[in-house]
Structures are given as C-alpha cells and as structure tokens.
C-alpha cells in the first residue's frame, strides 16, 4: 500500500512534466532533448527563490512559468523554425531537431553550472510527515502531487474544451488541414512549444520540493518524459497520464523492493517492452 501511494504521488508529478514534452513533440513536432534541462533550471530557480525569500515555492511559479514560456518560444522561433522550414519530411526534422536540442541541452547545463555551481541542491519545505492509511508520507510529496494534478486537469480541460485548445489539437492531428481552416501553423507550433516548456518548468518546480538536484540531472528527466510520451502514445494526453503513473509505480516498486540503483534500468526495460510490443503506445493507433 505504501509503495502504491508513493508511486502514484510520483506518477502525478511525472505526468505534468511529460505533458510538456508531449505538447512539444505532438503539436510542434520537435523532439526536444533539452526538455529536462528546462525542468532542472526551473528546480534551481525555485531553490534560489525559496532560499532567498523563504516564501512558498509555489509562488515561484509566477516567475518561472512565464520565463520558461518566453525562453522556449524564442528557442522555437529562432533555432527550431529554420529546421522546420528546411526539412523535407518528418523524419528529417526529427533527426535535425534531436541533434539541435541535444546541443542546446549542453548550453543549458553550462549556464546552470556557471550560475549555480556543480553541487547537489535541495531545500526543506513542507517536510513534515502526514499520516495516511497507517503510513507516513512527506507533506511536500503530497503538495507536489496536488499541484501537478491541478495543472494537469487545467491543461486537459483547456485543450479539450476551448477553441484555442482545439486549434492546437488540430495542428497535432493534421497540420496541412489546419492551414486550410486559417490556422497559422507556425504560430500555433510556437505556442505549443512555449507552453510545453512552461508546463515542464512547472513540473520542475513541483519535483524540486522533494528531490535533490544537480546541473547534470536534466537528461534523466528528458528520458523519463520520453518513456512516458512513447509509452502513452504521442497524440493522446490520457495515455501519457496513465503511462506516468505506470512509470512512477514501477520506479517505486523497484526502488523499495529490489534496489534503488535499478530504478532507471527498470524504466527502460518497461520502455523496451512497450516499444517492441506496442510501438504506437498504450492508447495510440497505428497511423494509416
């Protein structure tokens, strides 16, 4: 029971970060390998804010989210768009964007090292125990889960119930048809990429409440988000949410019952199985 709850709490936070990558990959069609660095940068920003002010890390979202939005918009507009325009097909764009964003991730790491140094950083906020069904859990983990859940639901409703959200889903489904209904696909993609970065940054803020970070940790979160998005199916947010919980549970089960050192390995075994057995994702359909 304890394992399940910890796994679910972790999965909820993972879901938020994976939704960021999914917006960037599903709508803007950029496989952003610098996604994890945005998350770590947001975690560092939250650390810095909390250490300096002792005000709730949630307040840091007010600065972090718009900043991540602007930075990611600029990355799309000035670094990705030339690649999009040049690419003759989706395959070429994927190769180019993977190489480019992999490079960008090192630029982020360099900046983080220069600004914050190479130490492991963590802070203590809401670190009090909470009793739930006979076991105790950190209040910060529960707060991170609830914060993530609110943002996930908000994003889901926005995508499915508003005209602007419908526009982004249309671009995800069929960019050429989107242009025929007067959607400016370039602007919509830039918006999705920026929004994805902002959502990932919010995920970084949530994770920073209970994890310890250093500048090199981004790649691990990029890969976790990648596992979730591929497992859940690129085009379906519900799939990603379910996949995030599966990943959270798997990691927790392995860490507690087997060995904490094997969590990443377990995540990849899961990933490989999905890739071999159901490459279109849990909810995905084979493209016709």
């Amino acid at each position: 029971m304890e394992i399940i709850i910890i796994g679910l709490l972790l999965g909820g936070t993972y879901a938020l970060m994976a939704m960021g990558l999914q917006l960037q990959y599903g709508v803007a069609r950029i496989m952003n390998l610098a996604n994890g660095e945005v998350l770590v940068a947001a975690a560092f920003g939250t650390f810095w804010f909390f250490s300096a002010t002792q005000v709730s890390p949630f307040v840091a979202l007010i600065g972090i989210v718009p900043l991540a939005f602007v930075v990611n918009w600029a990355i799309y507009r000035f670094l990705m768009l030339p690649l999009v325009k040049r690419a003759k097909n989706q395959g070429q764009l994927e190769v180019d964007s993977i190489l480019a964003t992999f490079g960008i991730s090192f630029i982020f790491i360099g900046i983080l090292l220069a600004v914050f140094g190479g130490d492991y950083l963590s802070y203590s906020y809401m670190a009090s125990p909470v009793h739930l069904l006979g076991e105790t859990y950190g209040l910060n983990r529960i707060a991170a889960f609830l914060g993530s859940a609110v943002l996930c639901v908000g994003l889901y409703v926005w995508l499915n119930r508003t005209r602007a959200g419908l526009t982004l889903r249309a671009v995800a489904v069929n960019p050429s048809a989107a242009s025929l209904v007067s959607i400016n696909v370039v602007n919509a993609s830039a918006l999705a990429f920026a929004l994805g970065g902002a959502v990932t940054a919010a995920g970084g803020m949530m994770l920073s409440m209970f994890l310890t970070f250093d500048a090199s940790l981004g790649v691990i979160f990029t890969l976790k988000a990648l596992v979730i998005v591929i497992m859940g199916g690129v085009s379906d947010i519900r799939g990603a949410i379910l996949a995030a919980f599966i990943l959270g549970l798997t990691e927790t089960v392995v860490a507690i019952l087997v060995d904490p050192g094997l969590t990443l390995a377990a995540a990849y075994v899961l990933f490989l199985i999905i890739l071999l057995v159901r490459p279109q994702g849990l909810f995905g359909r084979r493209t016709s």
Partner: protein, 236 residues
Amino acid sequence: MLEAKNISVFYGRHRAVESASVEIRQNEIVVMLGANGAGKSTFLRAIGGLTPAMKGASVVMDGVNITHRPAHEVVESGIALVPEDRGIFADLTVMENLQLGAHPKRARAHEKENLDRILTLFPRLAERRKQAVRTMSGGERQMVAIGRAMMSAPSILMLDEPSLGLSPLLCSELFRSLTAVKETGMSIFLVEQNAKQSLAIADRGYLLDNGHITGSDTAEALAKDETVQKAYLGAG
C-alpha cells in the same frame, strides 16, 4: 469574383501546370476536367496556397490580390479548399471538425447559422456529432470535408475530385448536394474525372491536358463536344 491567371507550377524540373488561367463568377458551378496527372490537383493547391506557384502568376479574389499568400490567409479571402485527401481531422469528432472550419475570422459572425445550414444539408452529420471522423465511411467523410469547408463562410468552394472513392449511389447523392450548396449562394469550382455527372450540374467547364488549358465552354456545349466525349465520356 475569382480570377487566377498565368498559374505555373514546377516540381523540380517537372512541369505540372503551365500558364493556366480560370475565372469563377458569382454563384456558378465550374468544373475542370482532366485525366489523372493532368495537373488538376496542383492547380487547385496553387490557388489555395498549399503549393507555391511560379513568378508571373496572379490570383485576385473579389478585387484583393492573394497571389503567393499562404493557405491560412487565402481562406480569409473567401476561398475554401477541400483537397484530395479531404483535409479533415480524422482523430477529432464531427463537431470539432465543423468548429475548426469556422476558425477563420470571416466565419465567426455567422457560425451558428452556417452550422444549422450544413446540418440541414447533411442530416447524417447531425446524427453523428460526437463520432470520431476516422470511424466514418468514405461518403460521410466527404460530407464532413465539405461541411468543414462551408463553415468558413466561403464565396467559393474548391473541391478536388470529391467523387473519388465513392460508390455510384453516393456519387449521385454528392452531386445533388453540390447543387443544393450552390443554391445557398456559393460558387463551386471542382476538378473531376467524372465528366458525365459533373458536367450535368456545372454551368461552365475547362479542359486541362498535360498542364495546359486546352478548352473552355459552357457545360452543355462541352457535354456535346466530340473531343470531350471521346476523352472523358467514353463515347466513340
């Protein structure tokens, strides 16, 4: 209303369309006939802004020059294109497709009326509002595609081989509904291989052969024309 002049499109060094010109007037159905590979789709895509036309082209819609404008701006001038692949959002529902059709600014003011009109014209769509388009039949998808295009409140509906892949029965139904669309005041410009049924509902026609316009006349005259009968109507 729409004047497209001197449209040339090259794919690499291959010439798909060369200096083709058409004119579409208010409230008429115009058909462009041509064999497979004659350049019909390319011509429509060039007008719609999906495929770049060469220098020297001129597309003027209601006095506004829309030459070389991207697709999302062409729609705002009142031209709605249903491409050969239908241009629909297969993973979304019928209603979502129609809502997206009304995304252009020009469509917003009369969105409700347009929706009612389309659902009256295609009652099938009204029954299946919540269904994902991907799960529907070819004929129903074509209705979604035409409905989606009509939602943008266009002056001209451009259709790329709407009868493609439809059974003879659905074909007749489709051409009947196109006449009904015309009665709402729109013009229709369609390219077709199905000469018989399209000439029957059209006012005028153009012939496109190997990227060139080789003839144009009233639909009646074309239907009687010997070369047309030979080439497209299976006579002789």
